[in-house]
Assembly symmetry: C3
Homo-oligomer: 445 residues x 3
Amino acid sequence: MALPLPASTRCLLPLSLGLFQAALLLFFALFITYDEHSAAPTNSEDVEHAAKQLHSTFPFFQDIQVMLVVGLGLLLAFLPRYGLSALTHNFLLLNVSAQWALMLQGLLHHLQHGKAVLGLHSMLSAEFAAVTVLISAGAVLGRTSPSQLLAMALCEVPIYLASEWLIITRLGVLDVGGTITIHVFACYFGLGVSKTLFGNAKPTVHPKETPTPRSDLLALLGALILWVFWPSFVAVLCQPGDAQHRAILHTLLALSASTITTVLISILLESDGKLSAGHLQNGSLAGGVAIGAVADMHITPAAALALGSLSSLLCILGFQFLTPLLAKKLALQDRCGIHNLHGLPGILGAVASVVAALLAPGDGSEAARHKQAQWQAAGLVVALGGSLFAGMLVGAALRLPCLAPPPEPLCFEDALYFKLQERAEGPPALGGSTEGVPLATKECE
Amino acid sequence: MALPLPASTRCLLPLSLGLFQAALLLFFALFITYDEHSAAPTNSEDVEHAAKQLHSTFPFFQDIQVMLVVGLGLLLAFLPRYGLSALTHNFLLLNVSAQWALMLQGLLHHLQHGKAVLGLHSMLSAEFAAVTVLISAGAVLGRTSPSQLLAMALCEVPIYLASEWLIITRLGVLDVGGTITIHVFACYFGLGVSKTLFGNAKPTVHPKETPTPRSDLLALLGALILWVFWPSFVAVLCQPGDAQHRAILHTLLALSASTITTVLISILLESDGKLSAGHLQNGSLAGGVAIGAVADMHITPAAALALGSLSSLLCILGFQFLTPLLAKKLALQDRCGIHNLHGLPGILGAVASVVAALLAPGDGSEAARHKQAQWQAAGLVVALGGSLFAGMLVGAALRLPCLAPPPEPLCFEDALYFKLQERAEGPPALGGSTEGVPLATKECE
Amino acid sequence: MALPLPASTRCLLPLSLGLFQAALLLFFALFITYDEHSAAPTNSEDVEHAAKQLHSTFPFFQDIQVMLVVGLGLLLAFLPRYGLSALTHNFLLLNVSAQWALMLQGLLHHLQHGKAVLGLHSMLSAEFAAVTVLISAGAVLGRTSPSQLLAMALCEVPIYLASEWLIITRLGVLDVGGTITIHVFACYFGLGVSKTLFGNAKPTVHPKETPTPRSDLLALLGALILWVFWPSFVAVLCQPGDAQHRAILHTLLALSASTITTVLISILLESDGKLSAGHLQNGSLAGGVAIGAVADMHITPAAALALGSLSSLLCILGFQFLTPLLAKKLALQDRCGIHNLHGLPGILGAVASVVAALLAPGDGSEAARHKQAQWQAAGLVVALGGSLFAGMLVGAALRLPCLAPPPEPLCFEDALYFKLQERAEGPPALGGSTEGVPLATKECE
C-alpha cells in the first residue's frame, strides 16, 4: 500500500514551508505593529471607536472564513476518493496565501509609509488575495501536488496585489465584490496555469473523477454554505449604511434568481429531464460572482434579478457546451469548471458595471460617466489579459520535476498524500462484520 | 438505468419556473423600489441609522439562512437514497416561496400605499412565509414530485399571508417566534395536503424509507445546526433591548430542557433502553417551536424550562403513539412527523400564550388581559382550522396527473430526479478496487 | 441484534436525568430572576444599553455554540462506528453541564448577593464550564457509558467553578481565553479520570477505533469549524475595543501558524512523507489553545505566530512520542489525545503568560510585574495539580458497576446506545440492490 514518493518531494515541501514560516516570523518581528484599533488607546473615544469597528466587521469576517474554509473545501470534495486532500489543500493554501499577502502588503506599506500595521482590515485584504489562489487551484485540482500548488500561490499573490492596485487604485474601477479583481483574475490565471502545465495532452476522464451521490451531497452542502454567506463576502468592504444595504439585497436577489434559473436550465438541457448535481453546485452561485462589480450601485432590484438569471444561464451553457469545446480545441483542462463559475459570470458582471456606470443616475456629468464606464472596461481587460499571461508563465514553471506532479494513475487519490491507516484485523464486530474487507473497498465508502 | 419521465413533467417544471421568474422580473421592474435604509440617503444621520439597522439585523438574518438552507436540508436528508433530492427540493422551494412572498407582499403594499419597497425586513418576512412551505413539505417528503411541491408553494404562500395578516394585524395576537402563525399553520396545512393527496390508501413502509446510521448522522447534524441557531429565528423580530434578551434566554432554556427530556423519554419508551435517532432529531427542537409565542414576555426562566420539557415530551409521545394511530385510523401520512415537531408543540405554545396573557404582570387591566388571552386562543383556532381546510383543498388539486407524482417503486429515490453519473470503467484503483461494482451498490453508500 | 442492557442502566440514566431536570426547574422557580439587560427596563436608556450589549455579545455566543455543538461533535466522530454516539453524548453533556453550572453559579450568587440573575453573560459562563467536561470526556471516549459521563459532569463542574474562582478571582491570573482555567484543567482532570477508571490494564487498539477516510473527513470538517470560530471563543470575554481586537488578531495568527507548522512537522515525522489526518485535526487547533492566556496582551503579532508554531510542534511530537510512552509506562489511555491538544499547548500558553507578564511594557513597576508572573505560574500549578488529583478521585468513583461501563467488545459501537432500525426486506431497488445485505454491513458504511 505504501506509495513511495520521490525524496525531493518529501524534503522540498517541509523545507519550503519551514523557510516560509521562518521568513514570515522574522518579517513580523522586524516590521509589523498594531493598527490604530488594536494598539493601546490614548482615550476612551478610541476604545469606543475600536469596539464599533470590530462589531461592524467581525461577523462579516467570520462568515467569509466559513465560506473559504468549510464551504469551498466541501465544494471541492466532489471527487469521491479525494475529499481529504481537497479540504486539506484548500486549507493549507488559504493559510499560506493569506500570510504571504500579509507580508507583501506589510512590505509595501512599510516602503510607502515607513511602517506596517496589522488589523482586521489588513487580515481581510489578505484573505481576499488568498481567495484568488483557491479559485485558480480549481482548474488543476487533483492533478497537482501540494508543492505545485504552493509554488503557484507564491507566484499568484504578488501578481494579484499588483493587478488589484492597478485596477482599483490607479484606474479607479468600482468593484466592491471583487467580480473583476478576484473572480475574473483568478479564473484566467488558473486557466493559464492549466494550459501550460498540462500542455497539449488531450484531457481524459480519469476513472476516479466521477462523483458518487455521497460526494455530490458533500459538494452540494459546500455550495449551500457558500450560497448562504455570499452576501457577507460582497458587502464586507462596502461603505456602511445604504450602500451596504443595497449590496446585501442585490446579492440575495441575484443568488435567488440564479438558483431558480439553474434548475430550469439544467432540466431543459439534460437529455432525460433530470437535474445535474454539478450544475446546481455551480449555477446557483453564479449570480454572486456577477453581482460583485455593481452590488452597491443604484441598479434597481430588477436588474439584480436579471443579472442573477443571466449569469447562471451562462454558467450552465458553459458547462454544457464551452468546456467540452475548449477541451477539444485547446486541450484545456478545467477540473472544477472555474471558467463557468468565475470566468463567464465575472465577465458578465464587468460588462454590467460598464452599463451601470453609463446609466448611473444623477451623480456626475455625462463625460464623467463615460469615463467611469471606460475604466470599468479597461479593468476587465487588464484583469483578464494580465492574469492569462501571468498564469501561462507560472504554469510553465510548475512543470519543474522537483515539484513532484502526481503520476497519472494516482491522481484524484487521497492515499497519495494521506497516511490512511489500514484497519487492524480484530475480532469480528457485532453480528457479522466488514473488518476483513480489503482496505481499498473501505476507502471508497 | 434511465428512468423515462413523462414529457409533461419534463416541460411543465422548466416552463412554470421560467414563467414564474419572468413574472417576478416584470413585477420588480415595474413596482419595486428600495426601502428607506437602502435608498440614497439625504443626510449623514440616515446613513448612520441604516448602518445601525443593518448591524443589528444582518447577523440574525444569516443565522436564519443557515437554518433553512443547511440545517433543515440536512434534517430532511435522513432518507438514505434521497439526500440530494431532499436538500435540493428544500433549497428550490425556499427560493421560489420567498420570491413569491416578496411579490405578493409588494403587491399588497403597492395597493395600500401606492408603492412597494424592498429591504432587509421585507426579505425576512418573505423567508418566514417560505418556512411554512418547507415545514408543510415534510409531511409528503419523498412521495411528491418537484412540480407538486412548487404548486403547493404557490398556493400556500398567499394563504399564509392572509392567515398571518388576520392573526397578527387584525386579531392582535402576540406571536413573536411564529409558533401559531408559522408552525401550527404549516403543520396542519401540510397534513391537510397529505390527507387529500394520498387519500385513504393505508401508509406502508417503503423499503427505502429506513434511515441508515450514515443518513441518521447527517440528519442529526442538521438538527444540531437548527438547534444552535434557533434563538436567532425566535428573536429576530423582537423589539431590540430587554425583549430580545428575554426571547433569546427563554429559547436557549427551552431548547436545553427539550434536549435532556428527549433523551430521558426516548430511553424510557424504547423497549430495550436505547435512544432513537429520530426522537433526538425532533424532540430536541420541540422547545424552540413551543416557546415562540411567549418568548419575549415576562414568563420567568422556570416557565421556559418547563415549556421546553413538556413540548419534547409531547413530541416523543406523538411519534410513539399518535402517529401510528393517525396512520391506522385516518390513513394519514406524515413522513417527517411534522405533527409531532410542529403541531403538538405549536398547540402547547399557543395554550401557554393564553395562560401567559391571563397572568401577565402589571400592564393593563384584568379585562384587557382576558381579551388578549381570548385573541391568543382565537389565533390558534384560525391558524389550525384555516390551514387544515385550505391544505385539504390544495392537496386535492395536487392529484392532477400533469404534476407527475413519482411512481411508488421510485419514491424516495434520488435517481428519479438526478442525473447520477455512472462510473466510467477504468484501470483498477490502487491495491484493489470497487470500480467494477454495479452502480446501484455505489448509490447506496 | 438486540444488545440487552442491564436493567440498572435502563433505569438509572432516565431516572437521574429526570431528577436533575426536576431539581433544576425547582431551583429556577425559586431563585432565578432576569439580569438587568433582560428585566423590564425603567427608561429608554436601559433599552438602548441592553440592545447594545446584545448586539456586541450574541454573534460571539452563537459562534461558540456552533463550535461546541457542531464542531466538537464532528471532531469526535472520527470513530467510524461511533459517530452518532459521539455527537449525541457531546450534545447531552453540554446541556447537562451548562444547566448544572447555571444552577451552581446561581446558588453561589444567591448566597453572596441574596439573588441569582440570568443573562447572556451567565449563559456564557455556564457554557465555558461545560467545555471542560466536553474536553475531559475526550480521554475516555468510546469506553464509557452515558451514565459514567454524566456522573463525571456532575463532579467536574463544581470542581471547575472552584478552580476558576481560585485562579481568576483569588490569584488574579490573567487568562482571557481559558488556556489555564479551561484547557489545562480539563485535560488533566480527564487524564486523572482515565487513569483510575481504567487502572493498569495496558491500552489495546480496539478494531473499531481505526478511522476510515470517511470518518476522518467528518472529523476534519469538525476541526475546520472549530478553527474558524476559535477567535470568538478567545475574544468573547475581552474588554471591548483594542483588547478584543488584539485577542482576535493574535488568535488568527496563532491558528494560521499552527496549520502550516502542523503540515510541515507531520510530513517530516511520518515515515513515507505523508500527512496524518489525526495530526491535522489536532495540530491546527493547538495555537488556539496556547494563545488564550496572552491573547489580549501587547505581545506583538510575531509572538502570536511563534506561539502558534511552537504549540503545534509540541502537539504533534506529543502524538508521535509522548502518547505511546505514557501508554506504555503508565498504561494511560487518552483516546482523543487531549494531552496533546489541550495539555501541552495549555502549559506552553501558561508559560508564555508568565514571560509576557514579566516583559509587560510600561504599565506597573517591576515588582508588580514579577508578582503577576508568579501568579500566572501559581495558576498553572493549581489548575494542573488540582485537576489531576480531583480527576483521579472521580475516575475511581466511575468504576461503580451501576454506571454500566460498556463491555469491551461493544466499545466504540453505536448499536449499544442507539436503536438502529433494521432495513425492512422489500422489493429490490432500482437496477440491483443492497437491501439484502446484512445489517452489520450497512452500519459500517
